[in-house]
């Protein structure tokens, strides 16, 4: 099981993957936006998205849980 966490304070612009989706290493899970920059959050291994903790428009803090891949 892998937990994907936010690297910085950001707004959640787009949620690309949904719970139940199968993702591969390097697939985009969500796209964050901070300081006028889009920051894709990528899967660091393949598996199924068992939990998507954020929704579009949310604000995440550094270290916040974004998704769980198992």
């Amino acid at each position: 099981m892998a937990e994907v966490r936010a690297e910085m304070v950001a707004n959640v612009w787009k949620v690309v993957a949904a719970e139940g989706d199968h993702v591969d290493d390097g697939d985009t899970l969500v796209i964050l936006e901070s300081m006028k920059m889009e920051i894709p959050v990528l899967a660091e291994g393949s598996g199924v998205v068992t939990k998507m903790h954020v929704a579009e428009g949310d604000v995440v803090q550094e270290g916040d849980l974004i998704a769980v891949i198992a």
């Binding site: 910085m8 950001a10 300081m35 006028k36 920059m37």
Partner: protein
């Protein structure tokens, strides 16, 4: 001169405009969102108005609320700074319709230059060199592929209504072009509200050199020297200098001359910037775009000319003559600007956070335009610019030495900053040699 001005911006540029206004005895009104109430510019203004929540659409981009704030505070003029509404012709018209003085060019000039395709076509007619590129907007990938075959690869893909490097990409074949086109189009729609794309022949080894122009109240257009902005990451500037070490006296004459023609072609009034690409192989240049506002990196021009560009903007908007003799402008020495961003110095990813320590460098030739101080929080809502660290010297070597000492002395704790990157840049043989191009930063990062 008008007696008061509302500064429709935030951070370092609001503070910089307020400083000149106050020196000239013009009452300065600041705007602030929920995120910016504690920033220095709010305190330094004569008056400050809360404009709305943090997201720009509900604060610094809310034209109606801004004009209402000007009415409420009896401001006589509006200075837009850069970014936000600075190049929004509708806003400029609304300001004028409300009986306020717009500190900027005529809305028609903003419109002509805001559409990059129209601007290219107009410049070509005015005898300003342009690169091979689109004469009509492109909205689908198939048309883009056909157009690229005519222009020749590699091509640069850009939003026609865009700026700030957002969505820009390079493609060297039709497959890459399809992908770059889709990226550019989705970004263009999202950031600029228009899906129109243009293609331009990509210059492989180029310097990004721009000319500062000033359209005076009597219609004269002046060129106040160039700035080299080739130090870029993600197509966005990180450091600038004047004069450009890659521009010969003969090339400078031709560029300044073309910039004046560009300004004359749109009847330009106020401060503007004509951006060009210089091909380092051939020594030729092409027009890129014109920015119809004060430029972020204007301080380097101020340092070598001794001219306060914001003061000239105010004077021109008020219909007055400039404060200097146009025939006697003699740039002296060399100036650098380093943009201090809240971002990590390796991957250049944003790093918001609370500033616990902030100590600016001082010394001969050092100028710091900062938007923050200790205790402020850098939020994710706006661009990552914390401060502009500028160094002026008798020559380039002295400017680099002074900048290097200032970078070492600049202490910021809290958000990560790119100050270590600047230390590295100033020590890199390629930058020091002056013989660099727009891929310098990626070369520094690949070793």
């Amino acid at each position: 001169m008008f007696d008061s001005v509302l500064v429709a911006n935030r951070g370092e540029i609001a503070r910089r405009v307020i400083r000149t206004a106050r020196r000239m005895g013009v009452r300065a009104v600041a705007l602030y969102s929920d995120a910016d109430a504690d920033l220095p510019y709010v305190r330094e203004a004569d008056e400050a108005v809360h404009i709305g929540p943090a997201p720009p659409a509900q604060s610094y981009l809310d034209a109606t609320a801004i004009i209402e704030a000007a009415r409420k505070t009896k401001a006589a003029a509006v200075h837009p700074g850069y970014g936000f509404l600075a190049e929004n012709a509708d806003f400029a018209r609304k300001v004028a319709a409300a009986g306020l003085t717009w500190v900027g060019p005529d809305p028609a000039a903003i419109e002509q230059m805001g559409d990059k395709i129209r601007a290219r076509n107009l410049m070509e007619q005015a005898g300003v060199p342009v690169s091979p590129g689109s004469r009509e907007p492109l909205t689908d990938a198939a048309a883009a592929v056909a157009e690229a075959a005519r222009i020749g690869y590699p091509v640069m893909v850009k939003a026609a209504a865009g700026g700030g490097g957002i969505g820009m990409g390079v493609a060297s074949d039709p497959t890459e072009l399809q992908a770059a086109f889709e990226t550019a189009r989705s970004r263009a729609e999202r950031f600029f509200g228009s899906p129109e794309i243009l293609l331009e022949r990509f210059v492989q080894h180029a310097r990004h050199v721009e000319v500062q122009i000033l359209g005076l109240a009597d219609g004269t257009v002046l060129a106040l020297g160039e700035r080299d902005c080739s130090v870029q990451r993600r197509h966005q500037k990180v450091a600038e200098e004047t004069p450009s070490p890659g521009v010969s006296a003969a090339l400078r004459d031709r560029m300044l001359d073309a910039a004046v023609r560009a300004g004359q072609a749109v009847g330009y009034r106020g401060a503007g910037t004509v951006e060009c690409l210089v091909d380092t192989g051939t020594g030729s240049f092409v027009f890129l775009e014109m920015n119809t506002r004060l430029q972020v990196e204007h301080p380097v021009t101020e340092l070598v000319t001794g001219i306060d560009l914001v003061e000239q903007q105010f004077r021109i908007a008020a219909g007055e003559a400039p404060s200097f003799d146009p025939a006697a402008v003699r740039p002296a020495g060399h100036a650098l600007e380093l943009r201090v961003y809240a971002e990590d110095p390796v991957r250049f990813l944003p790093s918001p956070g609370t500033i616990t320590e902030w100590a600016e460098p001082t010394g001969p030739g050092i100028r710091v335009d900062a938007g923050y101080q200790a205790g402020n929080t850098v939020t994710p809502f706006y661009d990552p610019l914390l401060a502009k660290l500028c160094a002026h010297g008798a020559d380039r070597r002295q400017a680099i030495e002074r900048a290097g000492r200032a970078v070492a002395a600049f202490a910021v704790t809290g958000p990560k900053t790119n100050l270590p990157f600047h230390a590295e840049l100033l020590a890199s043989p390629e930058f020091v040699s002056g013989d660099y191009d727009t891929s310098l930063v990626s070369r520094l990062r690949s070793t």
